[in-house]
């Protein structure tokens, strides 16, 4: 892993190129005297074709912010425009369909269904979208094959290593060609080698024109894979910096 150099980016990308546009977002949990403010007026833009990393200490609001961007949590205040859609104003039913059609997820704990094979797990987003089982599994098998898992299609998650499970999760996140990929601590449960492989895959396969990738991470070893890094502290974005990736970090 190469060293990371960063410089503050002072400008916001043009609106047409922006996949994620967040302005003045606050989020309160609880009510009355027990209210906790998790986000305090967050502004953030993520252009298409970029891999943005959200970093910061535990409890700084990374997960809350990414949940709001993914449409799984509503902000208390502020504007959230994702892929041109105003999520804050979107009814819940449409938001569910929006996530189904446009967002891919890679979770820290993988969240694979233990009773499904690798190919079936990777096919879940297509099945949710209404594809039939056979076509979905075939499409998922193709993606798994690209990720080097072609020989483990019929394995259950319990028969796979952590790195292999994360590859299945990446395949699941990409199988329906989402325009926004949200990765929550994708390497935190992996050793250094598997963490590098995972980030290589996300970098190579997921970062495409017309698609944005947001990675929430604590793992300083993978900062070099980012185009930009947004540092969070106490519910605010402290800085957004460009990351200079080393050659060892893989293609971008």
């Amino acid at each position: 892993m190469g060293a990371v150099t960063a410089a503050t980016i002072p400008t916001t990308p043009p609106a047409a190129d922006v996949a994620v546009h967040v302005r003045g977002v606050t989020k309160d949990f609880g009510s009355g005297g027990t209210t906790t403010r998790a986000l305090r007026g967050v502004d953030l833009d993520v252009p298409y074709g970029e891999l943005l990393m959200l970093v910061g200490p535990s409890g700084c609001g990374k997960t809350t912010l990414v949940s709001i961007i993914a449409g799984t949590l509503d902000p208390t205040e502020g504007d959230v425009v994702v892929l041109g859609e105003d999520l804050a104003a979107m009814p819940n039913g449409r938001k569910v369909r929006f996530r189904r059609d446009n967002v891919g997820f890679v979770f820290q704990a993988y969240n694979l269904l233990p009773a499904l094979t690798a190919a079936e797990n990777a096919a879940v987003p297509l099945i949710i979208a209404g594809w039939n089982r056979r076509r979905s599994v075939e499409a998922a098998a193709d993606v798994l094959d690209q990720l080097g898992m072609g020989d483990r299609l019929d394995r259950l998650p319990s028969e796979l290593s952590g790195g292999q499970q994360q590859r299945v999760a990446i395949a699941r996140s990409l199988v329906h060609s989402p325009r926004l990929l949200i990765c929550d601590e994708p390497t935190s449960a992996l050793d250094a080698e598997n963490g590098r492989i995972t980030m290589d895959l996300i970098r190579e396969v997921a970062v495409q024109p017309g698609r944005a990738v947001i990675v929430v991470t604590h793992d300083a070893r993978v900062y070099s894979y980012a185009d930009r890094i947004a540092s969070m502290e106490d519910g605010r974005i402290e800085a957004v910096v460009a990351a200079t990736r080393s050659a060892a970090a893989g293609a971008g």
Partner: protein, 378 residues
Amino acid sequence: MLWIAWKMLVGNRVKYLGIVFGVVFAALLIAQQASIFCGLMSLTINQIRDVEGPGIWGMDKGVQYVDDIKPLADTELFRVKGVPGVEWAVRFYKGIARARLEEGTYEQMILLGLDDATLVGAPRQLFMGSIADLRKPDAVIIDDAGYRRIWPDEPFRIGRTFEMNDRRAVVVGLAKAGRTFTSFPIVYTRYSQAVLFAPPERRVLSFVLAEAAPGVAPEEVCRRIEERTGLQAVTRTQFLWKTIIYYMRKTGIPINFGITVLLGFFVGTAIAGQTFYLFTVENIRQYGALKAMGASNWTILTMVLAQGLQVGLVGYGVGVGLAAVFGWWVRGASRLAFFMPWEVLAITGAAVFVIVLVASLVSIRKVLVVEPAIVFRG
């Protein structure tokens, strides 16, 4: 998504078997106890069912069930015959007689006296002898179970004798009869003979069996009989239900069986509901992930209900199957009453449906309120 629900369910074998066990337990207990209850109830009405032919039973106003004999004057027969709409009417004696066997021992018997001329109420199926032999002096026909009871391990034989009321009775036939609640042997004879076998009483007529004339509804004839004679008259079906309702109301039988059925229902609900809930809680992150990936609440609801339905169908099938096997086994191995009509299957099915519905509802709330954002929390 339903196959995902199914794989999620059966993928966790321990939990799956736990949920199915709860439903099987409930279905087995409900079906088995209800069938034994129905079996017992059928014992109470077998003597009515065995009397084929007449559609109307006339009796004293105070009679509440078939074994509740309140003797009538013989003249009541003629009053019934005189009611418009009555095609024919005959006498029928029913009582308990004490028999003295050849060995000197005593045995209680159900004594049925059939109309001398027509022999209405005679058994339908005979293993030995013929109905016509009842016209011989002192002749009786005994049911096969009764014969085995009083002469166990002895072959069936025509001509055996015993005494009732110091009068000799000669077995001229062996009949098939429905088992009774008391399990006493059933002895058929002519009415004129029965009153000699029975303890002497001024009034001996137990029932007047009648048939409605063609084109007249039996219910209407019953109404006329009651109006003109002051007797109680009911159709055969009404008498069956009257007897069943008496036993249900006046004995503790339904309560005892009902308690067991309810116990099965509640224990089954508790086991299935709790295990299903634990299964759901265990998978809550997976449901959260599915919701995050775009599965709607309706989809999740369908998945949980499908899981409940699957468990219900398997549990119902196994439970009812085991109850049927139990019934088949006890009918062969013992004299335990067991009767499983379709109503028992329907009631058990309804109970199982409620159990899986409750089990599902307990879990549904959990999965519907879970926020998809749960998946972002490590």
